[in-house]
Amino acid sequence: MLAFILKRLGEGIVLIFVVTAVTFFLTFGAGIPVALNILGPTASADQVASLNADLGLDRPIVEQYFSWLGGVMHGDLGHSYFTSEAITSSLVHRLPVTMSVVAVACVITVILSVVLGVASAARGGWLDKVLQGIATFSYVFPAIVLGVVLVYVFAVTLHLVPAIGYVPIGESFGGWFGSVILPAVVLSIGGIASLAAQIRGALIDELNKDYIRSLRSRGVSERSILLKHSLRNAASPALTTFSLMFIAMFGSSLFVEKIFALPGFGSYGYTSTIQGDLPAMLGVSLFSVGLVVVVNLIVDLANGWLNPKVRVS
Amino acid sequence: MTLLEVNDLRLSYPARGFRKKSPEVLKGVSIDIAPGETLGLVGESGSGKTTLGRAVLGLAAPTGGSIRFAGQDITNTPTKERRGLARDIQVVFQDPYTSLNPALQIADILAEPLIAQGVEGKEARKRVLALLDRVGLPANSADRYPREFSGGQRQRVAIARALALKPKLIVCDEPVSALDLTTQAKVMDLFLELQRETGVAYLFITHDLAVVRHISHRVAVMYRGEIVETGTAAQVTNHPRDPYTQALLLAAPTADPDRQKERREARWKMMREAAASSATAG
């Protein structure tokens, strides 16, 4: 088990390095006229050169990379070109917003997917149709459309929740919940579609296996067969789907943050890209990949633990 | 002149990743087959008998020893040269359900070895129909799909495919184990008849002693990657010298209640003696 953990951890670290290196070299090496962007088109060549020197952009690119890397090791991601804010602190402030939405979406998704998936595998019939309907619905109405519709209906027309803005959970739970529930619902539709179908499929596969029949022949209850045995064996592929779904949700938070005007991670990434704020863009990449690696690691560990062949060796 | 000569063959499957070396599946196996002869290869699971068959067919790469066919060394033949060998060595597998591609019609399946040798079109079709007739299947089978046939009939198709290139040796890997009793008998008869007509040799792999007795001239017994006994069919199956072969014979139940009772008691006796002698020795 330990070897398994170390191997996965190693792979994760490699991933972070590879992605950030590629991003770094692509962005810093692309010749974006940073100084010009900051100073405006009327700047003189001298001003541009002097700003470039200040920002360290006139050094060879490999040197810039290692300098940045060094900073990262100390938790220092540099400073925004435009606001002079430390990027690390900006990201840390923005993360809770995005994570609130994604976390609530995950909770909704997991609960509904398990309920729907299990019920549909056990009973079939109209529940299958419901699942298919949700799946079709999520593909047909992508996040941008659904988000806007929900805002229009619930916020603008019905005034049930605020249309925009984020309320930190510390301030008011109700306020916080109101500000994240709609975006979370938008994200979870797509999630439920894939996760519920996956759970249902995996359960049906398990229920058709020989050992289930043997358990029945020993008088084991249907409830135990469904919820203890088949669910346990179907959990592994479901967890893998969950991690992919989480990554997708994290990506889609870009859209909902714009629609619901949430000052989250995604909108920070968006702004820094539009402005050409290179250190901020890099910080966003690093954080994203890091988050994905952590989530994948947790899921892999859970899978490893679930699988007796890995756990016991 | 020996047709097939296997000398001290060793095989372990390639190790996955950088873990310890995987165990040896064949530990220095030697057998030989003369033209027109059937060598029965008997063993239980884990004996390596299927692996030996696959090595002869070029489907598994040996890690030591040699295989010679008609005097030529064929131990590690690359895929390109395998085509030439296809004219000499063919195969019939155990599972009639997965050894025929369900998406292809029988005619296409039978034509495959011919296509590999460059025979196509009308000529191939002619030979396909002749093959079907040879194995006792009606001509209209050619345009049907495998799923329309029973297990025994599919096995006949597999045999026809093996015969297409007029090989000198056919490796038969448990070809009747998956068949019903009545079908088994008929397919065994077909194997025998084809051998008498064409003089093809068989490496007949099986775990069933009754089957091996019926079709083999000579028998080799395998246990855990090694040959423990070789000899004529009569000698090995009636008066085995090796204790494992003896245990195997006594363990196989016979289809007669009274004779089976005797055999059972003989087996118990042998087990008691073995236990007693190991108790005194240990």
Binding site: L15, V18, L26, T136, Y139, V140, P142, I144, V145, V148, Y211, S214, R216, S217, R218, G219, L244, T273, I274, M281, V284, S288, L291, N296, K309 | P35, S45, R54, G58, L59, T79, R82, L85, D95, T98, S99, E112, P113, I115, G136, L137, P138, E148, G151, Q153, K166, P167, D180, L181, D189, E197, T198, G199, H207, A210, H214, P253, A255, P257, Q260
Partner: protein, 599 residues
Amino acid sequence: MTTNEPTVLLPGIDEAEAKKRAGAFARLLRMPLGLLSIIILVAFVILGLLEPVLSNHDPLFASLQHINAPAGTSGWLLGGDQYGRDIWARVLTSINVSLISALIGAGVGLVFGSIFGLIAGYAGGRADAVLSWIFNLLMTFPSLILVMVLAPVIGTTYQGMMAIFGLFLAPGIFRLVRNLVQGVRNELYVDAARVAGLSTWRILSRHVLYVVRGPVVISTVFLASSAIGVQAGLAFLGFGSTQTPSFGSMTGDAFANIYTEPMQFVWPSLFLALLNIGLIFFGNAYRDALAGPQAVVAKKRRRHETSQETVTRYEPDGSVGGGLLKLRNLRVSYPQPDGSEKNVVEGLSLDIHPGEIVGLVGESGSGKTQTAFSILGLLPKEARVGADEMRLAGDSLIGVSQTQMRKLRGGVISYIPQEPMSNLDPSFTVGSQLMEGLTKGMSKAEAKRTILELLERVGIPDPARTFDSYPHQISGGMAQRVLIAGAVASRPKLLIADEPTTALDVTVQAEILDLLRELQGELGMGVLLVTHNFGVVADLCDRVVVMRNGHLVEEGGVREIFHHPSQEYTQELINSILDEETVRMDPPVVVGSQAGGAL
């Protein structure tokens, strides 16, 4: 020439086979959803192609008089947006943008994914390890964020962004293709092709392509929908050239205006939704069509298939009182896709007396396993079971509720399966699985003690260790002993053993048969032993019941059946057993200088 086996075609299969041969695509066109989806997609393509003809204005043209013009204004089919641009013209351009996005995104994903998936699946080994590692890495990239961040670098054309996004779509196809190809590569018919000397290229095109085609098409369709969605999303945010109208930029603009002019949001959303509907329905319909003619169900007519031959029905005379199992006129049937019913067991009657071992023999399709499962009540949901009488120790089993049946199973009736390893739950320890059936009547500690004793009784060397082991840690023979222990734990009256030794080596088989004999003697169980092996019958059974094609052929004492069978079929079976006297005597044939003889 040996006797020809007649081509056994059950009546009715021919039509089904012909339908399957007709091809998935033809079936697709017959399905309402399939047809609809194709119509939608074709319509969109036509609209896109005819854009220069159908639009009245350049999509970027702005007319101040037409700001927020309502739909239906002359010359402005869907009205004007908040900048005065023609919504209909912009919709047409957006259709093209979406279609091209789908082509590029899904295309790139398809090409990269399938080529490398093919290589990884077929070559295996190191190539597979490296490629799988790379694509797994790619799959875990937060693709959206990275595409966005790299946008200024790659260039902000939507085509460029879609090409990059396509790379991130590739892992899904890679995994699919790799797994399919790997599966095919391990099939025996590919081995046969290799032995036949077929080149690798030929093997791939003949055998692999067929299997891979369908699922890849379906996946690509869903990828296309993904690509359209992502392009729309990025455009919504403002990426991609602002000059090029797309559904994303239209909805983005409309979103800013939504409180005043909600309809401007509706038009692009509607078209986008419709395009996606076309794709999704096509994907789903094609998936169903691939599944075969079962998906296309004809009118449901009930037709009972008549059995192919009449057999003298044997009526055991039931006068031997106190029978353990009494079965009269059992019938089991399954509904077929075309509405008829197929009988797999018909008119079966048999008796088992306490302490008696009855062998139920037959070839494949005889219905012996179905009979065993119907006594246990473990047939699949679709099965229709009926009997005049089915009594266990006098109590009728007919019409018994599932709950009651469950109490009987593992209590009065027990079951030993054929394949030991697949009949154990891989995620739970051996001990905990066995205990689960028992804790009904006794405490946990008692149950554990009972199981441990039983494990020892069935010949397991270290019961405590096996109790705590997982199924993958024990051998096949040990697993079968474990399952036997589980079956006899409750001291059942009737034990049903379904080919309990078929999957085992012959030496292990002998030991298991010994064990069954001992246990039966100790517990006085009645045993129904389903088998096709007459040696096993000769070893264990007191009486034999012979079945064929769902009917009873003959039954009697074991010596009678072996030495004096009264039915021709039974005699044929006995004759087919390769006897132990015959040894091959004729010498090897050498025909001329070439083997090949009369062919």
